[in-house]
């Protein structure tokens, strides 16, 4: 067991963890931040995406100990200060970018990273960026639309129906 300290969604957290505790288990079991989901065991699906020091990370690929001293942000920390949905979350709701909601936290975290790196992506760039995220419900169509809309681009013309 070792002590780790990190900032999670703006709050400082100190916990004792085992060396082999995955970040997903740390968030879900220790901090009860259950919005970070586990959809696979091969780092393919992206449901566990979080931000660590501003970078998009699949939480299943890192140990909690590796986040010692880091700034961590999860889906629970994405809404605006007043609790309202942020621009990306709101775009997902507006454009029906989610159905069962299980992959959604990972999609929102990936979208935030994309728009930070590339504030006005093309449709092809959005689709390419989402190669690490699997959604089984939406066919991605409305996720792509939501992300383009969140970037401030007009999607009404390009989206047929």
């Amino acid at each position: 067991m070792a002590e780790v300290t990190m900032t999670v969604n703006g709050k400082s957290v100190t916990k004792s963890v085992k060396g082999n505790t995955l970040m997903t288990d740390f968030l879900r079991d220790e901090l009860r931040l259950t919005g970070t989901h586990v959809g696979c065991d091969t780092s393919q699906c992206g449901a566990c995406n979080i931000h660590v020091n501003g970078n998009l990370v699949k939480a299943c690929t890192m140990f909690a100990g590796e986040a010692d001293g880091a700034e961590v942000s999860t889906i629970e920390g994405q809404a605006n200060a007043d609790g309202a949905l942020n621009v990306i979350q709101q775009a997902f709701q507006d454009h029906h970018g989610l159905q069962c909601g299980f992959c959604t936290p990972g999609m929102v975290m990936a979208a935030a990273s994309l728009l930070k790196e590339n504030p006005k992506p093309t449709e092809a760039e959005v689709r390419d960026y989402l190669e690490g995220n699997i959604c089984r419900c939406t066919g991605y169509h409305n996720i792509v639309k939501a992300i383009l809309a969140a970037s401030g681009q007009d999607v009404s013309g390009i989206a047929a129906e």
Binding site: R28, D29, L33, T34, G35, T36, H37, V38, G39, C40, D41, T42, Q44, C45, A47, T74, I75, E76, Q78, A79, L85, Q89, F92, Q93, D94, H96, L98, Q99, C100, G101, F102, C103, T104, P105, V108, E123, A124, V126, R127, D128, L130, E131, N133, I134, C135, R136, C137, T138, G139, Y140, H141, N142, I143, V144, K145, V155, I158, A159, A160, E161
Partner: protein
């Protein structure tokens, strides 16, 4: 101007807010005080005789609470099959025992042999490694045709062979043979409908709990139908009466069929919690899901189509081998029979249709319903053979289909079902318009100028949804009723809770169902909440599958709301001192016809619960009504799809350049949600056509047990927005349910696979490659082999 509320509007989904903020409550988010964890030790061989499972050393490992094996389930029921199919000889299907933990033999990779319950998952997993297994390997049974040969290794030693049933349905043999003998042309095609894994993004989870205080068990589980699980597990497996068993399916992360069925892990967690008097939790890993979730499809078919000299279809005959896997999953037996054979007429007035299906046991994971369930298999065969016939005859594939369309309704097919309504010409017109068929030649020329081949594929389909009439499905072998139920509870201040048997796991019921009630009552949707997923709260409804929720449960909700309106009018009549027949309800106001006298919805509901001025001698206080709805027929959504692919002859790679769906879902409650369902279905259909394949080797080893090996469609595999249109403007309302709705959940997955494959074959033919068929998934290597083979 689109409506902004009620039926036909697209309000934003209210459930989204919790999912977008990480506040969803999925089963794995549930942790009970004092819970233990179970790890299942699963067979790594396809077939073997269990000589010994020695748990002695493992039992002494740190943290182990108890280890269970098949012996602990002697005297406990096995997992039941919910549908009895009768063989063409009149014999019942063979129904092997399916123990919760393997007894005597293991029959597929993933068959659970032992279950270790420990203080932590890590300790359970570590202890499982110390279990000594003595399993004598037996030959795997993988290929269906080989499984039926004399002397083939038997999956179940107590059965005479590996044939579950040999089923024949539709037109008699003499009539069918005569039609083929008299045909001017016969087209024959042999094809495979590839085995798939449903892969909802949330793996299955079960948490069993037990209260000694009142002898009650609770199961939290990832289910599409908690009441079905309660019935099956309580009555058939564990012998717990319904009033002592509660099943809760909270937020569920997708289902697609695979979360309909009652699984061993659910029964285990419920059983073990009673045994150790502690909650027991199981969370599947994704690789565990691949080897324990029921798979889908896996049919091998020969289809023949007979035509007369004028290109009229005169007969269809199919011969299918359907893989059941090692055991009969809950609804497995119904999929290749009643959910498949009954749709074999398609959209066409073919007078003779005969369907033959041999269901086969193999040493693979059980196969059951996956999005579409039987109907994608029927559509794929029929629409592929029609395409081949068109080419052989030099006919236009659209014209050939149109010529043979059913145009008068109701229409009774030779395969038992009666289509109530439809307009296949209208969806075809819409598809042709949106696809710009006349522009195809120019688009092909453009592709060819780049050195690419371009193909156009079209397809029509019909499905039977809203499963449905209990008296009919009972005759067909269903061991359950297939009605649904809703309770409308109006509260004193006028807000409403609607408890429904349907379960929402992505379909947006929490948003769409209130639209219906709000429209009927003329009140704001925000006053209405839907309650689902907990058998202790909802009436005994049968859940969500087969595109049935709005057609069956929605209809129950309409009936219950009608009862509410009738009673509320009586109360309003009393308050207004008028005759009940003069009371009108509009925009949430009850008024006396032809006067300015009215009372508001809230005044009436308050009077129902504070009955100071109330006709107590005539009606009871309170305002709560339940309705069970059992429809008189299935619903029959239909559509016309088209797709254009570009094929790189250098690599065999196929990309979808244009895709159009024109569906007839009858009336639509929430267009945004309906379109979302179609998008998802199309992605799964394109996935089946181009990417997905659940593969076993000859030893029964599962080769595709992770997302490294099983190709899930990703965002860049699907058509871009500018070249992709889903349309549902052709609407022929269902004639027999009160909403006129048909269901939209499965259409995309049914309509798209043959569309894509037809387009690929068209592209190859245009390049001079005489390729008649490529089995799905149409991967670059298969295309390459077909071109160069």
């Amino acid at each position: 101007m689109p409506k902004d509320h009620g039926i036909g509007a697209s309000p934003k989904r209210r459930e989204d807010v919790r999912f977008l903020t990480g506040a969803g409550n999925y089963t794995d988010d549930i942790n009970l005080h004092g819970q233990a964890y179970v790890y299942f030790l699963r067979s790594d061989m396809a077939h073997g005789k269990i000589n010994k499972v020695d748990t002695e050393e493992a039992s002494q490992m740190p943290g182990v609470v108890r280890i269970f094996t098949g012996a602990d389930f002697e005297g406990v029921g096995g997992l039941p099959c919910g549908w009895q199919v009768t063989d063409k000889n009149g014999d019942p299907m063979k129904e092997p025992a399916h123990p919760v933990l393997a007894q005597g033999k293991v029959r597929h990779v993933g068959d659970p042999v032992a279950a270790v319950v420990a203080e932590s998952l890590e300790e359970a997993r570590t202890a499982a490694e110390a279990i000594e297994l003595d399993i004598e390997e037996l030959p795997a049974v993988v290929d269906m045709k080989a499984a039926l040969t004399d002397g083939a290794t038997k999956v179940h030693d107590d059965l005479s062979d590996n044939l579950c049933y040999d089923w024949q349905f539709g037109t008699d043999t003499e009539t069918t043979d005569k039609a083929f003998a008299e045909a001017a042309h016969v087209t024959t095609l042999e094809l495979v409908n590839n085995r798939l894994v449903a892969n909802p993004m949330e793996p299955r989870v079960a948490v069993g709990d037990y209260s000694r205080a009142n002898d009650e068990s609770t199961l939290y589980t990832t289910s599409q139908n908690p009441h079905v699980i309660r019935l099956l597990m309580g009555a058939f497996v564990l012998g717990i009466p319904e009033h002592k068993l509660r099943v809760v399916a909270p937020d569920v992360g997708g289902g697609f069929g695979t979360k309909i069925f009652h699984y061993a892990e659910e029964a285990f967690c419920t059983f073990a919690a009673r045994q150790i008097n502690r909650p027991v939790k199981w969370t599947a890993s994704r690789s565990e899901a691949f080897m324990s979730d029921a798979h889908g499809r896996d049919h091998v078919t020969k289809i023949e189509l007979a035509l007369d000299a004028d290109n009229n279809f005169t007969a269809v005959r199919t011969d299918t081998y359907a893989n059941m896997g090692a055991y009969l999953s809950t609804f497995s037996s119904s999929v290749p029979t009643w959910l498949h054979g009954t749709l074999m007429a398609g959209n066409y007035k073919t007078p003779a249709v005969q369907v033959n299906v041999k269901a086969v046991f193999t040493t693979t994971v059980p196969v059951d319903a996956y999005r579409g369930a039987g109907r994608p298999e029927a559509t794929f065969q029929l629409e592929r053979v029609i395409d081949k016939a068109a080419r052989e005859l030099g006919a236009d594939p659209i014209a050939l289909r149109r010529q043979n369309f059913i145009t008068e309704f109701p229409y009774e097919t030779p395969v038992a079902v009666a289509y109530d309504t439809g307009d296949y010409g209208a969806t075809m017109d819409k598809m042709e318009e949106l696809m710009d068929i006349p522009g195809f030649a120019a688009r092909r020329a453009e592709s060819e100028a780049k050195g690419m081949l371009r193909g156009l594929g079209v397809n029509c389909f019909i499905e039977a949804c809203g499963i449905a009439p209990s008296n009919l499905v009972g005759q067909l072998g269903a061991r359950a009723g297939l009605y649904d139920a809703a309770t409308v509870r109006v509260n004193a201040t006028g807000s409403i809770s609607v408890m429904v048997g349907a379960h929402s796991h992505g379909q947006g019921h929490e948003t769409a169902f209130p639209q219906v009630v709000a429209e009927m009552l003329g009140i704001d949707e925000s006053m209405i909440d839907i309650v689902h997923g907990d058998t202790s709260k909802i009436p005994f409804g049968m859940g969500t599958y087969g595109s049935r929720s709005i057609a069956v449960c929605g209809s129950a909700m309409v009936r219950a709301t009608e009862k509410i309106i009738n009673k509320a009018k009586k109360i309003a009549a009393h308050l207004l001192e008028a005759a009940e027949t003069d009371i009108e309800l509009k925009d949430g106001q009850f008024s006396v016809a032809g006067t300015d006298k009215s009372v508001a919805w809230g005044d009436v509901t308050l009077a129902a619960y504070v009955p100071h001025n109330y006709p107590l001698e005539d009606i009871e206080p309170g305002l709560e009504e339940t309705a069970f709805y059992d429809p008189s027929n299935f619903t029959y959504p239909a559509g016309a799809y088209a797709c254009e692919v570009e094929l790189d002859p250098e690599t065999g790679e196929v990309t979808i350049e244009k895709f159009v769906s024109a569906d007839d879902f009858g009336n639509v409650i929430n267009p945004m949600i309906v379109e979302g369902q179609v998008h998802g279905g199309i992605a799964q259909g394109i996935g089946q056509a181009l990417l997905e394949n659940c593969a076993y080797d000859e030893n029964g080893q599962l080769l595709s047990a992770s997302y490294m090996d099983y190709a899930m469609p990703r965002a860049d595999n699907l058509p871009h927005m500018a070249n992709y249109t889903v349309d549902h403007s052709c609407q022929t309302p269902c004639t027999h349910n009160p909403l006129g709705v048909k269901g939209c959940g499965e259409a995309g997955a049914i309509g798209s696979p043959p569309t894509v494959v037809n387009a690929v074959i068209d592209a190859l033919q245009s390049g001079g490659h005489k390729v008649e068929h490529i089995d799905m998934p149409v991967s670059p290597s298969r295309v390459w082999a077909a071109m160069n083979g």
